[in-house]
């Protein structure tokens, strides 16, 4: 079932946790919510589930206004970050719970409930653990019980709050792949929260980046990564290098020294120059011969597929880390000339300027970038 969130606002004691959030989620989609701590991800999830009521705006389940539905009637499967299993029930009883509390007329027979629960337990690969209590399970197993329990009620929407948050890296990876496969099989509309952007990128059809109660950007993982709509998204998703620059007459200056990037037609003023660590070219010659950004190598680390350099930049004491292919190995303390090949300027006003323009590279262009291009 598709899900529409329209202009939702949520305040906690006058401090807004969500401002005017709108989001459409198509039936069967797998959507990731990412953002820093306190950005409102859990709050948004809880609003969808009906565990919180919005101060303004509406959540629609298909065509229905969900505010008329109680939590019990919404049929959302909610998986809590700390699982919230029923300690005094076995795995089988936990999974079957949602069916056993159905009103008499709609309740399946005890045998049907048992069968449903067992088949779900098999689906989450916990066959043989039916009679254990939650305290006798590992974290990853509890997680899967929580998931099976949520799926038992045939949810219209599955909501997961940092489902793999408390697990170690290897288990996360396995569960992640497994959840993706499971989603492909069951086709539930799914929204999950994660702190781990890699998880979001790998798992989701679409990623929603949130910051301070607002949605910063919504898009396919590669679109978010390649054409971030704001400095925040650029910084938050993937690694980035950021240098504070000043624009003067179409020239970009770092600590007063012009660098060989053009910002023609940009109004004067401060800006942040942001690029990916690997979107750079370097020249090992003296900065007099090539006027890039002068930088001194502070440290050089080999990381398997290439080399990461830590550089000290300019007179302002800035530093940056860049990635180089394996065959280039400038020695420590040597001076390099560095220039980004793909970069974006973000202005304090919120406007931005990208090079090469994302319009040329991708069909999906955010309004902010179009504005910047038009300027």
């Amino acid at each position: 079932m598709d899900l529409r969130i329209k202009n939702v606002r949520k305040d906690f004691d006058l401090t807004p946790a969500l401002h005017d959030v709108s989001l459409d989620i198509a039936s069967g989609e797998l959507v990731a919510l990412v953002g820093p701590s306190g950005s409102g991800k859990t709050t948004l999830l809880r609003l969808i589930a009906g565990l919180e009521q919005p101060n303004a705006g509406t959540v629609y389940f298909g065509q229905d206004d969900a505010s008329r539905l109680s939590v019990q009637d919404r049929q959302v499967g909610f998986v809590f970050q700390h699982y919230a299993l029923f300690k005094h029930m076995t795995v089988l009883q936990n999974v079957g719970f949602g069916l056993t509390v159905r009103p008499r007329g709609k309740r399946p027979t005890a045998r049907e409930i048992n069968e449903r629960a067992r088949s779900l337990i098999e689906l989450v690969q916990l066959a043989g653990f039916e009679d254990r209590y939650p305290s006798q399970l590992s974290g990853g197993q509890r997680q899967r019980v929580a998931l099976a329990r949520a799926m038992a009620i045939e949810p219209k929407v599955l909501l997961l709050d940092e489902p793999f948050g408390a697990l170690d890296a290897q288990v996360r990876k396995d569960l992640r792949r497994w959840l993706r496969e499971l989603h492909d099989v069951t086709g539930h509309t799914t929204v999950f929260v994660t702190h781990d952007q890699e998880e979001a990128m790998e798992l989701a059809d679409r990623v929603v980046v949130m910051s301070r109660g607002r949605i910063e950007q919504v898009g396919a993982p590669d679109a978010i990564y390649d054409t971030p709509a704001s400095a925040f998204v650029h910084r938050f998703i993937g690694e980035s290098v950021e240098l504070p620059v000043y624009i003067e007459g179409g020239m970009i200056r770092l600590d007063g020294i012009a660098i060989p990037l053009s910002a023609a037609d940009e109004p004067d003023g401060p800006a942040a120059l942001v690029f990916r660590p690997y979107d750079v070219a370097i020249d090992e010659v003296d900065r007099a011969t090539y006027p890039g950004i002068a930088a001194t190598v502070v440290a050089s680390r080999w990381h398997g597929r290439g080399r990461r350099l830590e550089l000290a930049v300019g007179a302002g004491g800035h530093s940056m880390e860049i990635d180089l292919p394996p065959d280039v190995a400038p020695p420590v303390d040597s001076t390099l000339s560095v220039w980004p090949t793909r970069w974006t300027l973000y202005r304090p006003s919120g406007a931005s300027l990208s090079h090469p323009t994302p319009a040329a590279a991708a069909s999906m262009v955010s309004p902010i970038q179009q504005m910047a291009v038009a300027q």
């Binding site: 939590v71 700390h82 919230a84 029923f86 005094h88």
Partner: protein, 286 residues
């Protein structure tokens, strides 16, 4: 190179503990319990053993003794059961709702602990006497409270309430909100959540509260004797009968009643303990 030390073969019950000082604290606990609890109680047992089985049985099966024991344990049981219901409700209100005067109510719960039991007894007796504030309207309705087992139950409910509230309250405070929310998203109504999720989780604490209230009720003296009327075979409690026998210099009968009370109380508490261990295991604590 790291060496692994084989754990020294110890007593089986030492193994689970990783906390240091086990030997010391265990020794202390045993000695302390022996001094405070076991030695006085064994005195009672030894004294009653002196009586000889036949004599003991004659004294213990005296109809007045049996009646007093029945009154004591019966009223304590009923009062503890009532306290379980209302104690859980009081604890729930204190834990879950924020209302003006909550701290006051919270403090009020402890009052039966602090009040000298005789003071409580006199207050209750005058309140429930046929001409008292509550006793008079009740009498008008044909209900006699003071000088009946009902009066005893009321006194025991009064003194036992804090035991249930104070054992259940902290456990209730620890209940994870998300567990209730999970039940709601799975479609459980408030009532179903309460009955199927919350109360089972509280069962061990409720049982403890019940056991404490029951034990207190069986041993209660001061608050009961004023309201009970102490009519033999009707509202005479066993502890009072012990005092009466002592005043008659009938130590043998007093000892026999005491030993009976000890045996029954121990059996009851042991049973409750077993029940608790079972529910603990079942409801997965530790």
């Amino acid at each position: 190179m790291a060496t692994t030390h084989a754990a020294p073969a110890g007593w089986w019950f030492r193994r689970p503990s990783i906390i240091p000082g086990f030997g010391l604290t265990f020794g202390f606990a045993v000695t302390y319990l022996a001094l405070i609890v076991l030695i006085p109680l064994s005195g009672l047992v030894i004294r009653s053993a002196d009586l000889g089985l036949a004599e003991f049985w004659r004294l213990a099966s005296d109809p007045r003794t049996i009646a007093a024991l029945r009154v004591s344990f019966g009223t304590a049981f009923v009062a503890a059961a009532i306290n379980v219901v209302f104690g859980v409700v009081v604890a729930w209100v204190l834990v879950r709702y924020r209302f003006p005067g909550r701290r006051l109510v919270d403090a009020l719960v402890d009052l039966p602990f602090a009040l000298p039991t005789a003071v409580a007894g006199i207050a209750l007796a005058s309140l429930y006497a046929p001409n008292g504030w509550i006793g008079a309207p009740a009498a008008a309705l044909g209900l006699k409270i003071a000088f009946t087992p009902l009066g005893i139950v009321i006194a025991l409910v009064f003194v036992g309430l804090p035991f249930v509230v104070r054992t259940v309250q902290p456990v209730m405070e620890e209940i994870d909100r998300e567990v209730e929310e999970a039940a709601a998203t799975l479609g459980a109504s408030r009532l179903a959540t309460l009955a199927r999720v919350l109360l089972p989780g509280l069962a061990p604490a409720i049982l403890t509260g019940f056991a404490l209230a029951l034990a207190r009720g069986v041993g209660e003296y001061g608050s009961v004797i004023f309201i009970a009327g102490n009519i033999p075979y009707v509202s005479e409690i066993a502890p009072l009968l012990v005092v009466i026998r002592l005043e008659e210099f009938n130590t043998a009968a007093a000892t026999a009643i005491g030993a009976m009370m000890l045996a029954i109380a121990f059996a009851l508490l042991f049973l409750i303990n077993l029940l608790q261990a079972w529910s603990r295991r079942r409801y997965g604590h530790g």
